[in-house]
Symmetry: C2
Subunit: 247 residues, 2 copies
């Protein structure tokens, strides 16, 4: 796979795929994470493999939410860590939000591998669950959190979230900002802001947007947050899938 | 995952997913196969996770092609072996077509594991590439075949085929019958007959159809083969994805 020529029609997609398979080999990504990646590939293909207007709007809103947050946290799972480690570190730097490892399938080995992977890509500090702090209302391993991270967060950026946790975080009055290629998923429908786009394209755009708007007054961020309607963005994205137009 | 209750809205999908993850653990399925499975999940979801009329017609045509073939072969990769081993053995029995292991990513360990997996599910004979017999016009590992199997076949049933090989087999004047959840894929568009449906649902239906029509005169099979238009079936399936109706 690594010898796929740049001229191959699926080059970009195959290069990303190599990164996630490398994540499994490095103990960062779970086998179930590969299946989730495949689902994302299919939705991305149907969406035209480009950042649509619904995603642009959602990225603006996400930037505003992160800039306005009192205590934002970036929640990292094995897929995001394998796909965009440098971008995660950079996003943490520009927002001041800590990176916290939080994964669905219990594995302290994999949690450690993810933290190590992020450190190798420049992270100075990575929060891990301490085994004591627990978020109520979540059944899976994802209930275990760090006491100074997700436990205290008002706004959580969680690319590639699973539906149950997103709903539970919302019930706990957290605002959830997510990136999800399936506009019909429970996560997409439950989050405060859903960017329906490939996380590999989203993170650089989000970082640029935050840097651009950092100096604006808080009222301007507030306006972006108020103007964004998640259901409308999801409908636009679904419309693109259904219409069959290529972006 | 194995403790998912039957009441879970995604029970069936999760149960199938467990089988394919089990396939990786058993050395039968490749990590790239998991990603392909995820893509299939997404298309299946959009298709309504049911056998549509386009697939019913294609299953009838596939049965007719297999019944009419002079030397049919069933080509097995790691995903199909993990998902439907018993059905593959049964299909081989009702058609007399041998099972031949043929995988994209070179690994004689995995070829052996697939053959062993099929034998554990009742296969008496499984063909493997002998390292000498080669199909012209295929670059990947899939060019290596068994001299009495795919090399001599006039009709090849290859569920979950990759696009390059499908095109190469067609150039070699083989008829290719495939199962593919993506009606837009190169395989789907190149094959003689494409069943756009989940292989887990298709195989039992196909076996029943073959048993039902086995006693019919050859002219009746011929009629089914002539009446089937692959492009029309693909358009119907794509229409379902685009319309957003649930089956």
């Amino acid at each position: 796979m690594t010898d796929v020529p740049e001229s191959h029609p699926r080059y970009q997609s195959l290069r990303i795929r190599d990164r996630i398979v490398g994540g499994v080999e490095a103990g960062v990504t779970s086998p179930h994470g590969l299946i989730a990646h495949g689902r994302g590939e299919a939705y991305d293909y149907l969406l035209g493999e480009a950042t649509g207007p619904w995603a642009q709007q959602a990225i603006e809103a996400t930037a505003a939410w992160l800039l306005s947050a009192r205590h934002p946290v970036i929640s990292v799972n094995g897929n995001v860590a394998a796909l965009v480690p440098e971008d995660l570190v950079r996003l943490s730097q520009v927002t001041g939000a800590p990176l916290e490892v939080n994964i669905f399938h219990t594995s302290s080995d994999r949690e450690g591998a993810i933290a190590q992977h992020l450190r190798e890509h420049g992270a100075e500090r990575v929060l891990l669950p301490d085994g004591v702090a627990v978020l109520e209302g979540i059944d899976s391993n994802r209930r275990f959190v760090h006491p100074e991270g997700i436990l205290l967060a008002d706004v959580i950026f969680v690319p590639l979230e699973d539906g149950d946790r997103c709903a539970a975080l919302r019930r706990l009055a957290r605002d959830v900002l997510t990136v999800d290629l399936n506009p019909l998923s429970r996560t997409a429908r439950t989050a405060t802001v859903t960017v329906v786009d490939n996380v590999v394209r989203v993170l650089p755009l989000l970082i640029t947007e935050i840097e651009r708007r950092r100096a604006e007054p808080a009222a301007s961020w507030k306006q972006s947050m108020d103007n964004f309607v998640n259901d409308q963005a999801l409908q636009q994205a679904e419309g693109r899938i259904r219409s069959g137009e290529r972006a």
